[in-house]
Symmetry: C2
Subunit: 463 residues, 2 copies
């Protein structure tokens, strides 16, 4: 039976409309979006006092990093830069058994759902046992993350990561031994995983060469070539830190984006994650290739990465997706608004990203949190259009963070001020996974997570 | 009867302790904080699974600006700088009748309580009727704001504002006609208000010359002199925008802080709000005078004011309080964490404010949100010590934003990741005003506010 959702306000194409209706098929696809088309053979869900919007797409997540929330905010524990922070992160990564990986991922995914997120792109590089050897099933940990997503009900794209070395002319870092595979093992494992989940609708895959640091160019070219037939999304960290660019120049004589451009690796399947330290030529290259950039502002401010040049990037016509990355916070619209806010701090002007492609600022930022993420992950979601997955959430229009609103101003109020307390219901592929702010597995997920936290942090000092 | 609160974790002096207890008198004062002192003549409130912390002090609020949330995030509506934003704000200010002022203030104060805020410093400059004439009671609107605070149950310090002119050599701006008083009217009205509320415990007052722009130096000196006997907190906007500094230099040959220093206006009662564009000499002057600075990072990023130099200020020993200011967001710990985060973006380093005065970063930021605000407002709250007001809140330790915690790391997790969904109970002066996340007047406050929003924004285009 089809279901007809009748919210007070319905998002459609960058604006909210009164009296809109959303018709969803039994198979979880959007059939129609319209102003009051009625059909007596459908189940009707009235949503008075609610607005219905496409679910957020979190295009870059490392779920296990939820464990370091609050653990790296002191110099005594984690030093004072990105590289010493990474030591804390490795410490957590190296203590997790397969059950822990599942428990921590469920915690992160539950919190995403509570914020209205319906899809996660999980950039997964935790492959081996703590001793650095592959598990009997080398995809065990990837499957734990997939199982966590399915338990919570969030749609997942597993971006399986190739992590082949510590860096140019560097010995293997013992903190990274759970990440390493050979190129051939990576391709073999990737292939096996894709085959195994071929018929699972809410699970899909992408290829994720970790970075130019961790994947030598010759291997990268092989992986990219391997993917030409599959046409999967291809995600890579690029230009998050100045030191990373400098190392790439030392090895190849070019910065990462310029190198990838020369090697014809940039294309419409490519998403560069961070891309903070890129120059105007590199922006042109990414635009020309029709690539996406995934920004992660709440993480980038936490890690001291720098300010993402969102105006130059968006003005060049590049799609910007968003990711919660390190899980310092899981707040999709906080990420979105920071695209503009960090430029405001830098330029001492307001509404920097307004009227790009003639769109209001709130629409541009909301699209970064939704449809551009969907495009980056190769999915048809993040918008309410016929044929798209029925992935959406509702907000309570009387929540104090957004109270006082109308169809005209709600989107702007949401983008700049929404608190998760307003998120009421979440639907993925037509299935309700959060109802009246409550997930059925909430208590179990939190209790299990608390146990993992205790186990990992029993020993207090790290460095 | 005394009440003994027994939470799982209790905040005391910058850290959390297990098995701590808080004893509160019938009159709402803290009597004792200790590890397990038991007394059979007291009412016992067990709080398993909760942490108990001092309530946040919001030292700089313009409650009516809650109305412009989401209304100024487009160039078409509000231009692209601070000064054109101000036009939107004046538009809202000029449409409010006394009932509206009450309704909007209640909305803002309710949201503050939902985030764990127990005290607000309301910088109140809306004095006159819409035609610019004083109401029959020239304190009518101030009393509406006080009534709103008392209705919600939040403790308030009304910082009554002197707004005497539009600026140096400027004609009166018609957008400001509700703000203007003469100096003598200001002092008379201030005096009458203080007398009338002399015996109301949860209401107190401060003096707030709006800025060097809006108060000529001769008047400022009179007001400051008048306050010497009363010894009230004295708050002023200073150095929020570069243009404001430049105007001060044109008029007096000095930037605002240097001018106030020369005139001996800076002292321990003085709080300068914003203080973004100040130089090292001015920082020394504020430190020497034992003055406070109130930063408002969520507003300052929204308005494109610039990055507050928190490291220089805190390293000089200056107390930093925090304010929600324009109410773009009401998130005390988001303000707190931005003190460090905005410097991280600028410097590409982490934990910039860690180990100042040998304190962990989270403690320093938490104290900005609590005890430094209390000091700025002349109150004894913001800490859990014998003799202080029993103003505190509890958090649910299993909330997904902070789940996975211990006494050792909870404060850092709270400061960097707390969502208001974790705030469970709020107590002001020993009285429970939020219980199990619910305020008794919630629905009425939101419904009334929605009506005001509709009335004010009926006409859509502003500029």
């Amino acid at each position: 039976m089809n279901t007809l959702y009748r919210p007070e306000l319905l998002y459609s194409d960058g604006r909210l409309m009164s009296n809109g209706e959303l018709l969803v098929s039994e198979t979880g696809k959007i059939l129609e979006i319209s102003e009051k088309t009625n059909d007596s053979s459908t189940r009707v869900v009235d949503l008075p006092g609610k607005a219905l919007l496409p679910g957020f797409v979190n295009a870059h997540s490392h779920s296990f990093q939820r464990l370091i929330r609050g653990k790296s905010e002191s110099r005594l524990a984690s030093g004072s830069d990105f590289w010493s922070w990474r030591g804390t992160m490795y410490h957590a990564a190296n203590r997790l058994d397969p059950q822990d990986v599942y428990d921590v991922a469920r915690m992160a995914f539950l919190e995403m759902v509570l914020t209205g997120t319906t899809t996660v792109g999980e950039f997964h590089y935790l492959h081996n046992a703590p001793d650095g050897k592959p598990y009997e099933d080398p995809n065990l940990l990837a499957k734990q993350v997939l199982a966590a997503a399915r338990s919570v009900g969030i749609c997942i794209v597993l971006l399986r990561t190739a992590y082949l070395r510590s860096g140019f002319n560097l010995p293997r870092d013992s903190g990274q031994i759970r990440f390493f595979e050979s190129r051939s093992a990576f391709l073999e494992n990737m292939d096996a995983l894709i085959q195994e989940f071929r018929n699972v609708f809410e699970v899909s895959f992408g290829v994720a060469p970790h970075s130019v640091r961790a994947v030598p160019l010759s291997d990268l070219k092989e992986i990219v070539g391997w993917n030409r037939a599959l046409n999967l999304p291809l995600h890579m960290h690029i230009s998050e830190q100045v030191a990373e660019n400098a190392a790439c120049v030392r090895e190849y004589g070019l910065a990462p984006v310029a190198l990838l451009n020369r090697e014809r690796i940039l294309d419409a399947n490519f998403t560069g994650v961070h891309a903070i330290h890129i120059d105007p030529n590199e922006i042109d290259m990414l635009a020309e290739a029709n690539a996406t950039i995934c920004a992660c502002p709440t993480t980038e401010r936490n890690l001291g990465d720098g300010i993402f040049p969102a105006d130059c990037v968006l003005n060049a016509g590049i799609r910007v997706a968003l990711g919660s990355d390190s899980q310092a916070q899981i707040e999709p619209l906080e990420d979105a608004r920071q695209l503009d806010y960090h430029l405001r701090l830098q330029r001492q002007k307001r509404t920097i990203l307004d009227q790009i492609a003639a769109k209001p600022l709130a629409t541009t930022l909301f699209e970064c949190a939704t449809i551009h993420g969907a495009r980056s992950l190769g999915l048809h979601c993040g918008e309410l259009k016929p044929g798209a997955n029925a992935d959406f959430f509702t907000v309570d229009l009387s929540d104090p963070s957004i109270a006082g609103n109308s169809a005209d101003d709600l989107l702007s109020i949401l983008v700049f001020s929404l608190n998760r307390s307003a998120v009421h219901d979440v639907v993925v592929n037509g299935r309700i996974i959060l109802q009246d702010r409550r997930h059925p597995l909430h208590d179990e997920i939190v209790a299990r997570y608390q146990e993992v936290h205790h186990k990992v942090w029993r020993t207090e000092r790290l460095l």
